[in-house]
């Protein structure tokens, strides 16, 4: 399986944020998107998730499921956690599991992996920002999807939760998954490359 971006370009609000961006990501590899604020990290991730249309170029998942769009083969974890305050932690996880077509048995394991097992029965509205973030991240384990798109996943996570995230991502990479993560901190994923997106001028260079 291989994720290929071909000469991607994007214009947001009349400003060019991505131009001529090409990269390929093989199964088992992680790509860390770095760069200053406004460099186009989120734009790139939203294009891959199918939420934005690129102005030029395109992306494709070679060897993926031909019946599904790229977005349907991606887990998208954006800045918001997609957590309902009036549902309990477990109900939130169980809903996304069933909605995204995962097997029911995945819920306890996913909560365990992010240290939420003890908080299972409390309403998600009572969670701290970091706990809510972990619940948002736990979604990637609730259904099997090959590509994970993580937009600044470490925001409000403590050290232990960051280590848990790295462990989860490493397991996914070992199983032949693909991960794209926009980040400002160095995430020690096992097989990670870095893609530095350009500054205000919008120039893109691969590092």
């Amino acid at each position: 399986m291989k994720l290929v971006a071909d000469r991607l370009g994007a214009i947001r609000g009349g400003r060019r944020v991505l131009a001529g961006l090409s990269f390929a990501l093989a199964a088992g590899e992680a790509l860390l998107l770095t760069g200053p604020n406004g460099a186009g990290k989120t734009t790139l991730i939203r294009i891959l998730a199918g939420l934005l249309q690129p102005s030029e170029g395109g992306v494709a998942l070679d060897g993926g499921d031909g019946e599904r769009t790229l977005g349907e083969q991606c887990h998208y974890v954006g800045h918001l956690d997609a957590v309902k305050a009036s549902l309990t932690v477990e109900e939130n996880a169980a809903f996304w599991c069933r909605f995204l077509g995962g097997e029911r048995g995945r819920v306890p394991g996913a909560l365990e992996a992010f240290g939420l097992a003890a908080l299972r029965d409390i309403p998600a509205g009572l969670l701290s920002a970091g706990q809510r973030r972990r619940l948002g991240l736990a979604r990637v384990l609730l259904a099997a999807r090959p590509v994970w798109l993580l937009d600044e996943p470490t925001v409000s996570l403590d050290g232990g939760a960051q280590a848990a995230l790295v462990a989860v991502v490493d397991r996914h990479l070992e199983a032949g998954g693909l991960v794209l993560a926009a980040t400002h901190v160095a995430l020690p994923f096992s097989r990670a490359r870095e893609l530095a997106l350009g500054g205000a001028a919008g120039a893109v260079r691969a590092a």
Partner: protein
């Protein structure tokens, strides 16, 4: 299919837990219909004549109150983006949310109607026709309303804007709903044609409105 059922079930559960939107809609309906006879005075014939129209307009306005929230909470907490990357096409997501809105707002309002009909001196026949027209007509309100809710999603205080925007589209539902409800009184066979047209409006809304709502949602997600 199971994803669709899950989404509807979650929305019903959220409506049950949070309760606010449904309560406000029911409360507003009750207040409008209670105040009107007091304002008009005790002319029973007049109340019977205007009753179905009053109840239909009050129901429409009550449903409008809760419409802006249909997609708003999911946009605010990021759920909408995840729903968009899910196994369901956005059209089906919009249909599921509309269905959930009908079940949590349309149905309770219709259930409350026979009681409010008593306030307006509606007889059993008139009340039966009115409830039948509402059962068939309220899905159109939820489904057409979803288009407005999706269009005004990022507008601050989008509620009044939604009402202005969708007003022309609610007119057929309202006109044929009231005609069908009046038909029972006149015993002139006016019920059936209006009722059937109302059903057609609802069926058309069921099919067409989710397409428009999904198109609007795609624009809002960009």
């Amino acid at each position: 299919m199971s994803a669709l059922i899950e989404l509807v079930r979650r929305d019903l559960l959220l409506a049950w837990r949070e309760g606010g939107a449904v309560g406000v809609a029911l409360g507003f309906y009750l207040v409008v219909v209670t105040l009107l006879p007091l304002a008009i005075g005790p002319d029973l014939n007049l109340l019977v004549r205007i009753g179905p129209g009053v109840l239909w307009v009050a129901l429409l306005l009550s449903a409008l109150l809760s419409l802006p929230r249909m997609f708003e909470t999911d946009l605010e907490d990021g759920s909408l983006e995840v729903l968009a990357t899910g196994p369901l096409p956005l059209e089906v997501v919009a249909a599921a949310k509309s269905l959930a809105h009908w079940l949590t707002t349309g149905v309770p309002l219709v259930v409350l109607t026979p009681l409010l009909g008593l306030f307006l001196n509606l007889g059993p026949d008139a009340c039966g026709a009115l409830v039948a027209s509402m059962v068939v007509g309220t899905p159109a309100v939820s489904f057409i309303g979803a288009v407005g809710a999706a269009l005004t999603l990022r507008a601050r205080r989008g509620g009044p804007l939604l009402a202005f925007l969708m007003l022309p589209l609610f007119v057929p539902t309202l006109v044929f709903g009231i005609e069908a409800a009046r038909g029972a009184d006149l015993a002139s066979g006016a019920f059936r044609p209006s009722f059937l047209i109302l059903a057609a409006v609802s069926l058309a809304a069921l099919v067409l409105a989710p397409l428009a709502a999904a198109a609007a949602l795609r624009v809002q997600l960009r």
